[in-house]
């Protein structure tokens, strides 16, 4: 069937497991398409390891023609850091939800950022815990109803939405790449992810990309409302763009001296 039209899936997608298992209209598919295209563009399929978390990201455990490890909730980055330290030639991608990244795994995120670990972390911000049925996440918007904020997120008691990339940018050293994209701008998102992979490949440092995503199932939104929630509500709290690109100096960061402890 020589020239029959075929879906323009990224080459690294595993067609045998498609259609994938994400809900209709789930942002995960769009983000994984952007990731797949970035991997294709860089030609790194042979040396890329994909790690997914517990959360809806785990549904991608058989998504790619990549060696893949599905880990524990919040623990994907440490597993991949463990791999990267002994196999630096591999490109490791840590894919997780906002709960895994900013709640239970926050110490790993902070520490990998501080160490400037050579990993590319992609965090799917869907403003709640998708897989467990829609509880509050650190990213939940003020007033947003979730299963654990049935009367709306009360900022006074539970805080305001966490700004993940801003957090990473505050602690990551020069060489880090930090950005926030959105499924509402796929070309930009793919570009951010590709730059993030390149940052790792070129050994400059950590790459952290948050992707604003959609969870129509738990938001209970139709397509029009889904786009509105991402492009209006979420965008009001989570500005997209690049926060740190390698080469750029960092405020309040002293030079590269090595004073060390006094010698005797």
């Amino acid at each position: 069937m020589a020239l029959a039209a075929q879906p323009q899936m990224p080459r690294v997608w595993r067609a045998e497991t498609k259609p994938h298992k994400f809900c209709p209209g789930c942002g995960h598919g769009i983000i994984l398409k952007a990731l797949g295209e970035a991997i294709d563009a860089l030609g790194i399929q042979e040396r890329t390891i994909f790690g997914c978390d517990i959360g809806c990201s785990l549904l991608s455990w058989d998504f790619f023609n990549l060696d893949t490890i599905q880990t524990h909730h919040g623990r994907t980055t440490p597993v991949l850091v463990g791999i990267k330290r002994v196999r630096p030639e591999l490109v490791v991608v840590s894919y997780m939800g906002d709960g895994g990244a900013y709640a239970i795994g926050a110490q790993h995120l902070v520490s990998s950022a501080v160490r400037n670990d050579l990993v590319t972390i992609i965090v799917v911000n869907n403003t709640q815990y998708g897989m467990t049925g829609g509880q509050m996440a650190p990213t939940t918007l003020p007033g947003q109803k979730t299963e654990t904020t049935p009367y709306g997120r009360d900022v006074k008691l539970t805080g305001r939405p966490i700004l993940g990339p801003e957090l990473v940018a505050a602690v990551a050293p020069p060489g880090a790449y930090v950005a926030r994209g959105s499924i509402a701008n796929v070309v930009q998102l793919k570009n951010f992810i590709q730059k993030g992979l390149l940052n790792q490949i070129e050994g400059r440092g950590i790459a952290f990309i948050e992707a604003l995503s959609a969870c129509p199932t738990n938001w209970r939104t139709n397509a029009a409302e889904t786009w509105r929630f991402i492009e209006k509500e979420m965008a009001a709290y989570f500005p997209t763009g690049e926060l740190r690109t390698p080469g750029e100096a960092k405020n309040g960061q002293a030079g590269e001296g090595t004073p060390g402890a006094p010698e005797h």
Binding site: A2, L3, Q6, Q8, W13, P19, P24, V186, T226
Partner: protein
């Protein structure tokens, strides 16, 4: 490649609209994003028993590929009728 998907192919305006019913989940994200509102629900049902989409419900397609871009399931492939559509990254027809 051991997997192949059947396309429903429709020519419309500047574009050739390939829709893969085995992939489309009927989420409607593409409908909302089409700048000329040409995408609408088709009669045909997709793999999951949902309607699939088709062009021809609005102004002619301008082959901007927005729909292809936002589809979470890679269920749309837009070719330009002027033949530039083959430059996409990703799987080529075999």
């Amino acid at each position: 490649m051991s997997v192949a998907f059947k396309a429903i192919t429709t020519e419309n305006g500047k574009g050739i609209f390939h829709l893969f019913p085995a992939l489309c989940k009927g989420c409607g994200l593409c409908i909302e994003k089409c700048p000329v509102d040409t995408i609408g629900w088709a009669k045909q049902l997709g793999a999951f028993g949902t309607p699939v989409v088709e062009p021809g419900h609005g102004k002619p397609c301008i082959a901007c590929k927005k729909c292809q871009l936002v589809c979470p399931d890679a269920a749309i492939w837009i070719e330009r009728r002027d033949g530039k559509g083959r430059s996409d990254s990703g799987r080529q027809p075999e």
